[in-house]
């Protein structure tokens, strides 16, 4: 077992509600809402008009920017609207709304490309780009951009199956149900980077996934090994994972390629395999629906663009009025206020909490206990950063390296005084960005 990075916390897992539940396909809804940006980077431009008929897998929005991923129709049907709609990041965004014709008629251009063996590295990257793949672990960085940034530099390929956030089991189920697809994707990435070996890193709270992947290995991939990781949050954070697996630390502001590493989420890797072998772009993703307010927690395979409301309804609705809805995990997820927002590419979980879990904090007080310092995986001093931010002492925040904060939430989680630490650091970073823009340097 690989022991972790320094710091981190041990939140209760809460994964029992869904870990045994096989992924169920959710029938596509009557309407899907596809925002023109579901990734980090440049938003796309719609290439369809209202009233136009589109086929399953047809591109509906594209961008010429290298840091972007095209958006495809996740159902076949008619373009009902191109308008500003709620986005799960909290704001509103231009979206293409499709009226589902129920035919699921695929676009004629969609056909299998072959396999990782028959394609060149360049062709594989092109397939990934055209498939609109982004990191499915939640961060949603365009996958082809990530691949390109590491070409010629990567000596260690790490597949991220840590899934360290509580409640979420979508990656866990993918590892149990489609290990061959993961290995297929690993082989494609090994070919792209010209590597002989790769590591699939899984937290030890998923022994069945470790077992399943290991059982699948001898048949498919030499040089691929499964590394069990000590269970600790944020084990799945890129920098912490690289540190745990290789002992290398990614320098501040640098990409993993700077230390020769590349990290891809397990489901992203499986999607690469699917894109290569079926030619179908990313149209669906696995979403864990859980939390105390959910009647029947499930792992669902959901068409991208499905409204959150429809996903919750598919699990039998709420057992009681939810108090808080979160997209993603409880540590880093985004609180939702509008159930009309759609599932996007990075939606790995939808959680609904009744009162009791995540209840509002009393008046926050710092007692300088130092737990935040011990919990910070980036070795920052959250207690000081917080006080400087509260006093608007931005230069001090910068000197105390607030920019290194990965916003994992470990400090806020552990704080006995219930300070809003991460929120304060986000604010500090935002203020620093604005100050830099004003100052022009």
């Amino acid at each position: 077992m690989i022991f972790p990075f320094q710091g981190g916390v041990h939140p209760e897992g809460h994964k029992d509600a869904t870990r045994q539940k096989p992924i169920e396909p959710l029938p596509p809804p009557a309407r899907v809402v596809l925002p023109v940006s579901m990734h980090i980077g440049a938003p796309c431009e719609p290439v369809v008009k209202v009233g136009q008929h589109v086929l399953l897998g047809e591109k509906i929005a594209v961008s010429a920017s290298p840091v972007s991923a095209p958006i495809h129709a996740s159902v076949s049907g008619t373009v009902a609207a191109v308008e500003v709609c709620p986005h799960p990041n909290g704001g509103r965004m231009l979206s293409v709304v499709l009226e589902n014709d129920g035919a699921d008629a695929p676009h004629p251009d969609i056909r299998p490309f072959g396999s990782a063996e028959t394609l060149t590295a360049e062709e594989l990257i092109a397939v990934v780009r055209e498939a609109g793949l982004v990191g499915l672990g939640g961060a949603a960085f365009p996958t082809h951009t990530k691949i390109a940034s590491g070409l010629g530099k990567v000596d260690t390929l790490i597949v991220n199956g840590a899934e360290c956030e509580p409640y979420i089991t979508s990656d866990h189920r993918v590892m149990l149900e489609t290990p061959e697809e993961i290995l297929g994707g690993v082989r494609a990435l090994m070919k792209i980077y010209g590597l002989e070996s790769a590591v699939i890193a899984v937290e030890t709270n998923k022994p069945d996934a470790v077992e399943t992947l290991r059982r699948t290995l001898p048949r498919r991939g030499d040089g691929v090994r499964v590394a069990p990781l000590a269970t600790r949050y944020p084990q799945g954070a890129e920098k912490q994972l690289i540190r745990a697996v290789t002992g290398r630390e990614v320098p501040p502001g640098a990409l993993p390629a700077a230390v020769g590493a590349a990290v891809f989420n397990v489901d992203t890797v499986a999607s690469i395999h699917r894109a290569v072998t079926t030619g179908m772009p990313l149209l669906r993703r696995v979403v864990t629906v859980s939390g105390s307010a959910v009647s029947n927690p499930k792992n669902l395979s959901v068409r991208i663009g499905t409204p959150l409301r429809a996903v919750f309804e598919a699990t039998g609705g709420f057992r009681e009025q939810p108090f808080k809805i979160i997209m993603g995990g409880p540590m880093m997820g985004v609180a939702q206020h509008n159930l009309d927002a759609p599932v996007v590419k990075g939606t790995n979980a939808l959680l609904a909490f009744s009162r009791g879990e995540g209840k509002p904090e009393k008046e926050p007080v710092c007692i300088r206990c130092g737990r935040c310092v011990s919990a910070c995986p980036m070795r920052l001093l959250p207690v000081y950063l917080y006080h400087y931010e509260q006093k608007n002492m931005l230069a001090e925040c910068e000197r105390m390296r607030v920019s290194d904060c990965i916003e994992c939430g470990s400090c806020s989680y552990i704080c006995p005084g219930r300070l809003h630490l991460v929120h304060s650091f986000r604010t500090a970073k935002q203020k620093l960005r604005e100050a830099r823009k004003r100052g022009g340097n």
């Binding site: 501040p252 880093m332 206020h337 000081y384 939430g409 989680y413």
Partner: protein, 339 residues
Amino acid sequence: MADTRFVVSSSPHIRAEEDTRSIMLDVCIALAFPLVIAVYFFGLRALTVTAVSVAACVFFEWAYRKLLKKPSSVRDLSAVVTGLLLAFNLPVSVPYWLPVVGALVAVVVVKQLYGGIGKNFLNPALAARVFLFSFPVWMTSFPKPQPGQWNALPLWGPVDVVSAATPLSFLKHGALPADAYNLQDLLLGQAPGSLGEVSALMLLLGGVYLVVRRVITPRIPVAYLGTVAALTFLFPKGDAAPLEWMLYEVLSGGLVLGAVFMATDYTTSPVTKRGQWIFGIGCGLLTVFIRYFGAYPEGVSYAILVMNACVWLLDKISLPRRFGVPRLTRFIRKGGGKA
């Protein structure tokens, strides 16, 4: 499903169960160990002095915040902890008004005037104790423990104390108090001293409880006790055997109380690992320095208070190594890692 308003707040959306109150409650539980043995050795008066001290601290905490129309902070139990620690630092024979004056200094002057819990830069109980040394008659007469004598001291009225020499007053003159009190007495608490400091064993048990409950890390107590042990072993006074001398020095006076419960006070100790080591070592150095060269036999309170005042500096100079930057680079690039 009717749309209603959901709470929208910043991540993380879950919190650990422990809060300020539960931590303070753990400290109170740990302090119950020495309190029980104090009652056994000094009688019920140990309990009444402690009760007065706690009640006074809680009252001043409540009254100050009430007068200034601030939200009450009594619920966090930090005033209870201050009250316990203050009582533990007093001789059991003190008149009852003394802990009340101490509580006023501790809670109002040292803690609330600086903004309340987490904002003070000196340990409130220790600062109050040092203030109370202005009343030396009461602060330096230590009754002899009388195991199992519940009424060893009268609960009311003036206390007629037959005060006894403490182990430290022997050590001060370079002699072991071996005839008066042996090491076992010091471990159990059968030697004169402040109410809560006499039993090293009970204090250590309380410390183990705090470490097991992860309320404190052992860094500061280990650094503090280790430094005192090393120095006194290397430099015994008189013609005492080094090991014996060291054990008497470590087990005497308020050292264990100070190392386990006072130096580890969150607000007045560093938050960085290296800072905590330096802090503990500094406390140890100063304690031995004062004990050896000072006019007064006891050095723990002053040592910790002086180190309290250095905490901000210690944190600043002991920033952890920046993630992704090798140790060597840190020293070359001065200023704590401004990229």
